[in-house]
Symmetry: D2
Subunit: 109 residues, 4 copies
Amino acid sequence: MENWEDLQKALIEFRNLRDWEQFHNPKDLALALSIEAAELNELFLWKSAEEADKEKIKEELADVFAYAILLAEKYDLNINQIVMEKIKKNSEKYPIDKAKGSAKKYNEL
Amino acid sequence: MENWEDLQKALIEFRNLRDWEQFHNPKDLALALSIEAAELNELFLWKSAEEADKEKIKEELADVFAYAILLAEKYDLNINQIVMEKIKKNSEKYPIDKAKGSAKKYNEL
Amino acid sequence: MENWEDLQKALIEFRNLRDWEQFHNPKDLALALSIEAAELNELFLWKSAEEADKEKIKEELADVFAYAILLAEKYDLNINQIVMEKIKKNSEKYPIDKAKGSAKKYNEL
Amino acid sequence: MENWEDLQKALIEFRNLRDWEQFHNPKDLALALSIEAAELNELFLWKSAEEADKEKIKEELADVFAYAILLAEKYDLNINQIVMEKIKKNSEKYPIDKAKGSAKKYNEL
């Protein structure tokens, strides 16, 4: 089982059993996503990357995925499709010969 | 194609062709993720959820997924497994009879 | 001029001249604050602290202060008072003998 | 007491007594700031602005100010000066006749 659809179904079932759809408007879902992203970042605060706790990272990253998947569902987006399109777009914004080995933003290349 | 492994491969190929792995330590990947989450949130700023631009949401959400997937790869995490485990954990933290219809946190239920 | 009341007045005048109070509910002000915080963080992304651009930091930090000051005004909070109270509280949560030289959270000390 | 300098002194004394300057590089301070901003936002999650808890807002906003003030100190920035400069800059980006009553970004006006 390595596909998004199973996860989406499980998340929606979890949500509906608790009657939480009423709270899950896209604005609050996006907010929830960024709060989970901050909790993930807190695991690295005042530390080097190596010192962070992998078990906790697993949990916070799972929360990030959960809200991102629920948000995708709200807009009926196919996750693989939108990410593949973005990779294609970024391939043009960051041509290999210019971007190779550089951390600059595309508008500074 | 609804398999996140395909996405992971495409993202890593994109990264490696640009020699960007040197920048992609987990601390900065988590930071990048939260910056993309903020860009997603900006699409809802000063607005109701309905007024947000779906095309832009698609793009920012794709960025969120991209960094989350790359971070999962860093720790060799199976996305379906970690999200399913989190759902199970949250099912215990938010039992249906207590959590139904409530937006309270588990420690306030 | 090192008084935050002067800033608060200037920010409110700027806002009122543009008739923006209608958008500035506390929920969106808090959201704006976190978006500006993310823009500040972006200046450090994929970099060491030393490589960040001081001029841009100045600008993003100014935005953070602007929204924080406007939010304080919404709740009629005295900034010096709330920060001094928080320092006092944290002094108890982080007693010097336990917290000295440690980056741990108070509940892990 | 309504000035930044008293707060800055108190915060630095608190920090130095705990020997925490070693952790307070600007990159982590900016990260801490955005984490506190997220905790502030969490008080509004799944709620209308009116439902948020003012006491908790006071505390999280105090944390935001604390890190913002410490960051300003790192770069030797005068808070009132940088915010006044930003207001001036934004006055040009958002001329009253164009921006009045509009929540659009300057590049969409």
